[in-house]
Symmetry: C2
Subunit: 356 residues, 2 copies
């Protein structure tokens, strides 16, 4: 009864979303601060009678508001039901293996290979440098490729490449193949390549409101690009689900897009927390990758990632661990409030100072 | 830059969702009555701070509430971002052409062939009877098939087949191939086949909250089936988007699932409106197919469907017309309030009584 194509899939495993027990939840890179006050007032004043009607299938107002915040026209913005959906549409639209495999970093958002398997797209992973940074020159040297995808800042490392490095890549990569830059974490210190869209027709930027806009529960993701790419994403959407973004999500997203100064403030706080938490870990001899994201990728001396994960979970703190050779010594710790990080640090100190 | 697979797609065309001018909107089968009061109160009391967290990826509470209303366990319920998404996942999971084409009625929900093209699934359309009913015996006589999909009541005709006819089909169709019954409109007089799930492992039922639950704007769709089918839908979801149903939609959907008596009342009103409106049209010599849905498929004597559509649109009333040979004489008219139908009837009378 099950189609052959499904039998070979290894679905993505999302971070735990525990129900019941209260955890200090530092495992899925959610924002520790609430969404903007404008989000609350949108919920309070939304006319429930509107829910009986289909939402705007084009998300016109929302795309306009996002575009305005970035200096783009709404025709250069696509909106979907979380950036996972937008990524899935983009993989379908732009990557088919015609010119070779899709290139991606060996360690990056682990949903990318799942999309490839879902749509039957050949792909090839290129190793990171020793310091876990992405070596973009390797993507030019790799030979045949139907496209490139990477997260910047990268996940789960948090390490960023500069806009200049990406511009260098764009200038040399074939112009008829898409380079997809996933900027889910860009608001925590990365350099967005949105300003490069004007000169590069094959650049697609994907972003999300789940992290820096504190709206993971609302499912809003976006793509920015030139008309042919955005039009292709619309064609995919209209072959999958005419209305993927519900009416409330459109209203809430529009309010959040216009609340830039609130979000700049809370995300500034998260960057400050990351700095002080990283210093505290380094003082304790931990390996901490330089992060431009709202999380740190951390290895504690003499402990495997699995041990750190398990120890902290028992004490009510969730972090993310990947049992993957090459990064299994690390855990990914989302930045919470300063108080939450203080508690976490206390647990680490109690553990590492006690006889093992 | 665009993948080959996309170049051959003809995306689905949804009914118009006009912004700006106010229409009497009878073109997309929305409910003319507001969602249940419990939906409003859920919106008013929802804690916006929860939106910073990812929603429950399994929709546990929502699936439990739906299951309870139908006498099913939550393990027999799948929830997605509108029934379009659920259908798309189901086409991916169950139909691959291994045993022959997917069979569907010649006239039915026009998204089905789009999903087939999207995933490369061969399909074959079987003609309706002269009276526009689905002849299920033809599906048994068709020979090789990898599965069957149809809407019941069917769209855009509104004509239903009985549960007994579907049971007869299930008893004779190969048990290793899925029969998907799309019950989007079942609450307006159709017979649901949910009671047949216990005995038929290859039956999948899809439903939506867009019509009878007055929540088209919220995007909630469901599938009901036995464990292997529901588990397969979860595997597809987890290879596409871990969290397709946002936190608010889950809360609102749970409230709506528990508000059965309110919805029985408004849907009863819609059925009464359909009866009286159908009588009025028949009195005027129109051809009106016997409908078990919240719409009527109607042909006015001496007018093409396109003429009816265009004339009414000019007068501020939107109905749906399909420029497809075999049904192009018809328009599909969603049932509005009695007052809206009275205005529509007045326009028809003014038109047909005036010299053309």
């Amino acid at each position: 009864m099950i189609a052959e194509r499904l039998k070979h899939l290894k679905p993505y495993t999302a971070g735990e979303q525990p129900r019941g027990r209260e955890f200090i939840k530092l495992n899925t890179n959610e924002n520790p601060y609430p969404p903007a006050p404008e989000v609350s007032s949108t919920l309070r004043t939304f006319d429930p009678d509107l829910l009986r009607l289909y939402p705007d299938p084009t998300c016109g107002e929302l795309r306009g508001a996002i575009g305005e915040s970035l200096g783009l026209g709404s025709e250069n913005v696509f909106a979907g039901n979380g950036s996972d959906e937008v990524l899935s549409f983009a993989f379908y639209a732009f990557f088919d293996g015609a010119h070779g495999p899709l290139l991606m970093p060996q360690f990056t958002y682990s949903f990318y290979p799942v999309y490839c398997d879902f749509y039957g797209i050949p792909y090839r992973r290129l190793p990171l440098r020793e310091d876990f940074s992405i070596d973009l020159s390797a993507y030019l040297a790799a030979g045949q490729a139907s496209g490139i995808v990477f997260a910047n800042p990268n996940a789960p490392t948090g390490v960023a490449v500069s806009r200049a490095e990406i511009e260098h890549l764009l200038a040399r990569f074939p112009k008829d193949r898409v380079i997809l830059v996933d900027e889910a974490y860009v608001d925590y210190g990365g350099e967005s390549v949105v300003p490069l869209l004007r000169e590069h027709e094959n650049l697609l930027v994907v972003s999300t409101f789940s992290k820096s806009r504190a709206l993971a529960g609302m499912r809003l993701g976006f793509a920015y690009g030139n008309r042919p790419l955005i039009d292709a994403l619309f064609a995919v959407k209209d072959s999958f689900n005419s209305y993927p973004v519900d009416a409330l999500a459109q209203a809430v997203g529009t309010a959040a897009a216009r609340a830039g100064s609130y979000y700049a403030e809370i995300n500034g706080r998260i960057i400050a927390t990351r700095r002080s938490f990283a210093s505290a870990l380094l003082e304790r001899g931990a390996q901490v990758l330089p992060s431009s994201a709202n999380f740190l990728f951390v290895s504690l001396p003499g402990r495997t990632g699995r041990e750190v994960y398990a120890h902290l979970k028992e004490r009510g703190i969730l972090v993310r661990h990947f049992e993957i050779p090459g990064i299994s010594d690390f855990v990914r710790i989302s930045m919470g409030t300063d108080e939450q990080m203080r508690i976490l640090l206390g647990e680490i100190d109690r553990w590492t100072n006690s006889p093992s």
